[in-house]
């Protein structure tokens, strides 16, 4: 029985995405991880399958689907076997382009979203800075008014697609104070004054996560995305989907890692029988399966409510918090079941465990999720 909110239609999409990833992307994941870079051609390849525009309207070149179709993609990207590659695709599809779709002018959509859906232009979202992460009110990058446009100065960091991106949807202060009422967004094209430096990381090796410096970067009037000083709203508008996308990614990753590890436990012999014939290993796998189901149920409920328009801040926050920690714990346990092999780079789980560690940090840390929930709980619903 297909678990709500998905239906037969989504399962068909799922198997087609799965086939594509298994055929076209997964075989290269090791190579891309070693190279610490996946090729830009991945984007047009995905676009040819319609996978960069699942939720976008057909008049912009999208598939005319909705968030549920995108959700299937989020889940299945785990099959690439490279968190960094999935992150690069996800940053483009789930965080860089949605603000243009929701807040952009027709001209901006034609100039950026249409080529982004075709995989011809790659996008990045630039919010985090060396001095401000989850606390977005502390942003220092500034945009100053000049004739015919704005001049940007500042530094962004931990930017996925930060080296390869053709355009960076950038948050900057447009008042001296900045803060909730003084931030605006600009679509900044790579060009004079924009320099990127790639960062070395624990995991996500195939991703070109970078620090981006803006030095007297001029952008024209029409680069302003959404309302002047209205940037905080733009940030908030996509948080729920970004977090759901992460939760879905964890759900997909947990399923795949569990299946592979169970397979390994059935085949690997120790003390005269398969590993899975030892009760502690069997119980460990059973426990992990229960955790994966728990993560799936809490995520699918939040997704269902999100798609129904309920604005389920509480449920999405819970799903993000629970799944990211559960996913990392599952990966670590899978690594343990693999024993020495699990510690070796040639076995997938070493990478999966490193990649999963970002979950409880990225997209709002566990601590931020608990802060949000704590605040919600302080104001319980009126009886």
């Amino acid at each position: 029985m297909i678990q709500p909110p998905f239906s037969e239609e989504h399962e068909e999409l799922r198997s087609s995405i799965r086939g594509f990833i298994d055929r076209e992307l997964a075989p290269h994941s090791q190579q891309w991880e070693d190279a610490k870079w996946f090729p830009d051609e991945v984007f047009p390849k995905l676009a040819a399958q319609g996978l960069l525009g699942l939720k976008y309207p057909t008049e912009l070149g999208g598939q005319g689907g909705d968030y549920l179709h995108e959700a299937v993609m989020c889940e299945e990207m785990a099959r690439i076997g490279s968190g960094g590659t999935a992150a690069g695709i996800g940053a483009h599809v789930n965080i860089a382009t949605p603000p243009i779709w929701k807040f952009g002018t027709d001209e901006q959509k034609q100039a950026y979203l249409v080529p982004a859906i075709r995989g011809e232009k790659i996008g990045a979202l630039g919010i985090t800075e060396p001095g401000a992460g989850s606390d977005v009110a502390g942003l220092r990058t500034s945009a100053e008014r000049v004739d015919g446009g704005w001049v940007l100065n500042g530094e962004k960091t931990y930017i996925t697609n930060g080296v390869r991106a053709h355009f960076i949807v950038t948050a900057a202060k447009t008042t001296p104070e900045g803060g909730h009422h003084g931030i605006s967004f600009f679509i900044v094209e790579r060009g004079e004054g924009v320099t990127s430096a790639k960062l070395e990381k624990l995991g996500w090796h195939a991703s070109d996560t970078a620090t981006i410096a803006y030095q007297d970067v001029f952008v024209p009037e029409e680069a302003l995305l959404g309302e002047l000083h209205g940037g905080f709203k733009l940030i908030m508008a996509n948080f729920q989907w970004e977090r759901l996308a992460m939760a879905l990614g964890a759900v997909g990753a947990m399923r795949m890692a569990w299946e592979r590890t169970a397979q390994f436990a059935r085949e690997r012999q120790a003390f005269g029988r398969p590993l899975s014939g030892h009760q502690v290993i069997r119980h460990k796998l059973a426990d992990l399966a229960a955790s994966a189901y728990q993560a799936r149920c809490v995520t699918y409920d939040a997704l269902r409510r999100f798609v129904a328009g309920e604005e389920p801040l509480r449920e999405v926050t819970m799903a993000k918090l629970l799944t990211q920690r559960a996913c990392f714990e599952l990966m670590d346990a899978c690594l343990q079941i693999h024993g020495g092999a699990g510690y070796m780079r040639e076995v997938w789980v070493e990478r999966a465990a490193r990649d999963a560690r970002l979950g409880p940090i990225g997209g709002g840390s566990d601590e931020i999720m608990r802060e949000i929930l704590g605040r919600i709980l302080e104001a319980p619903p009126a009886p």
Binding site: A237, D301, P312, M369, R370, L377
Partner: protein, 396 residues
Amino acid sequence: MAATAESVLKPDFKSEKKHFIFTDEHEALRESIRNFATKELAPHAEEWEETTFPDSVFRRMGELGFLGLDKPEEYGGQGGDYYSALVLAEEITNANSGGLAMGVAVHTDMAMPPILAFGSEEQKQEWVVPAIKGEKILCLGITEPDAGSDVKGIKTRAVRDGDDYVINGSKTYITNGHRADVIVLVTKTDPDAGYDGFTLFLVPMDAPGVIREKKLEKLGMHASDTALLAFQDVRVPASAVLGQVGKGFYHIMWELQGERLIGAAGMVAGAQKCFERTLQYAHERKAFGREIGKFQVIRHKFAEMATKIESARQMTYITAWRFNNGEYPVREISMSKLIASRVLCEVADECIQIHGGAGYMREYGIERVWRDARLNRIGAGTDEIMLDVIGRSYGL
């Protein structure tokens, strides 16, 4: 569709939170059970910890129609769906008495289903009809001093003697064992037939040779009467056989699944209730000049607990949805029971911690929740049995 700055800064807590498996009728039922439990049961919870809850609770619940919510109307039930049994399990937690909830659940969800499923018309008339009215009380006898989750090790024997059967053996940890009018008894009729050697009987508890040996003292669930029973040459007619001779093991295994899931719903609701009481306490109790709920570590404990509870609830609801739609999801039911019982125990323990010294004291009722909760990781299949079932379901 997506959140706006306004909605994030000032979330709308009045948004629709009802899960899709429930209808307005379920919500009305929820309301009426909650009222009943809050007004008629909760005030006595403390006293019943000492005395066990009175049989009159069954009669009152029968009058109100709460003992047959999902049972057929022809036997006096309400003819409701499976979800209505979930609602009862959730709302009865408002009685603040784990022992009471357990006594009622054994009656409605453990002992009654096999009679309805496998009983003859006469048996249903004799036992189910008065049980739904709360006039007769049911119990279920599986566990023995030497056989718990390993049902195969059951030793209680029923031997054919002319038109009768003669039963000898003992059963333990039997909820409602002292108050029950009848027991659904698991016996071995053919010791050489393995799983095909078990037979269920409906044995009246006043039959000669049924001995209620002692009331067992327990860590928690004090409002419940838990019995050690002996059966000494108990003679019952062949018409007391429930279901088919030799099929007892399958009859009893079948019914455990639905009950486990209803149990999981009750555990989640129990955790939620404990959470809410503790949240209330965290608003009232001050330390170092402010409400303890204002301290970040305490706030984060609440966030963590709420997340665990919500995830266990979603597992339970969606699994109930599968069950109600004709699937028999043994794996997912086992997962839900496993996670829900753990969540309840962890939440109860964290709630004691937040209460500090008060949490350790009887008068706040939190230590009772903690003691009552602990049974859920053992009863109706231990954590370890759940893990075994889940592991086996994958062929591991």
